[in-house]
Subunit: 251 residues, 2 copies
Amino acid sequence: MTTLQAKVECPPNCKACELRDRPAFVRVSDAALEAIQHARSHALQVPAGSTLIYEGQRNAQLFTVYSGWAFRYKTLPDGRRQILNFLLPGDLTGLQQVFGGDAACGVELLTDCALCVFKDNSLMQLYSVQPRLGYDVTWLAAREGQHVDDNLLTAGQRNALERVAMLLLHLYRRMDRIGQAESGSIVFPLTQQHIADSLGLSLVHTNKTLRRLAQMGLHKVQAGRLHLLNPRALSSVAEYYDTPPRLLPLL
Amino acid sequence: MTTLQAKVECPPNCKACELRDRPAFVRVSDAALEAIQHARSHALQVPAGSTLIYEGQRNAQLFTVYSGWAFRYKTLPDGRRQILNFLLPGDLTGLQQVFGGDAACGVELLTDCALCVFKDNSLMQLYSVQPRLGYDVTWLAAREGQHVDDNLLTAGQRNALERVAMLLLHLYRRMDRIGQAESGSIVFPLTQQHIADSLGLSLVHTNKTLRRLAQMGLHKVQAGRLHLLNPRALSSVAEYYDTPPRLLPLL
DNA sequence: CGAAACGTTGATAAGTTTCAACCATCGTGG
DNA sequence: CCACGATGGTTGAAACTTATCAACGTTTCG
């Protein structure tokens, strides 16, 4: 089984796209595929740790993550950082820049990533040729919005234990949905600092909470992978019950 | 000056839409206006306190707030509630339901509202006839996403004083942008419980923080209006510096 | 007038942050 | 090969912020 990890490249031709063949994504017509191909600018391999988009940057690009992990974030003037959401294979990002001018958030890579970059200003063209794809892009935007809604609910209302449980489950489910979970585990490139910044907790408290969950036998992190040992209990701790997954559009 | 408050109705004909004439919104062509008119189902007057959409509801509608205030929220099984964002005149909501099936969040009204409701399944049609409007809808979705991003940054990283200052400023600026601020004040229908639920603070602590800001001379709430007495100081407390406003699409 | 909704305040309890160490792992260069 | 620095993880104690509890005040409205 291919797991589309770090070293996987995004093929120049969309017809050869392996991501698209996965059962999580909606099938598209040949015409639509051609339109997507036409809107594409190039593929890109970027190493872990790179900052792909800076906050406030002008003319940032629109792209889809083909393989690897990234995250969107915002910072306050004094350096505090909030991770808004994690980007996994299939996620489209950069929409806000297309409309708003300046990038409202930064994007940084957690692992080596293969990216599928779109041409500047290709979006309006895409909407004209294939309104259905425009519809799909809106869908993706709304879905990204839902993820942030979830994260806001977590940061605003859950306590530390619930937050951490929530995040682990959330990431596992997202990976599982795109076929990248294997026997209860997923790759897990986050440091505890990332977890802290995404949940609005201090690093120390995040560490203690993580240990607590591990001692309860709910999860373990080992050799760069996250293993959910008791997903049932985790979801009960997090008070997190999912809605059934749907097929996702992929640009 | 018309302030488009509670009792203002949404006219049946989009050509008579007063909201659209405000300088905050982009001009649209006659053809686009006609397409919007065609996608519209009806106008709706709903009293303050109504729950317009319930969490998990099937087949919720898509609508634009014409006048009044509302908010989107999510709750946990034990009743904790997070307000995700406030909806002001010109805001489109319900997109998530259009794609996702079930409503992922609820929508409740803070004041009497006039709403412009769209037909079920009218969106795809709209994209086909007027791709430009599809583009605009995506824009609106991305903008709503930005607001939630901001709120997540606030809930995750700012302390109580900063959070409250942030919210007051944020709401003032949004109202100002659509021409509904008058000499440093705006209508303000929130209770302290709403503020607490939107910032992830307890009611009591919200009250104390609000008082603290008021004693510092930064704001006052009086007769249902919020007055910013020292916006400069508020924005410095909140560490919140805005990006210049842009014209907004309006559906 | 009384009830209900909202706002205010002080005291106490709990959760979280901060500070200050220390440990483990890993890649690099002498 | 080992020493070294850098990064990430772990732990305890003290300080601080925020939540909870309990009460009372104010306004509104039937």
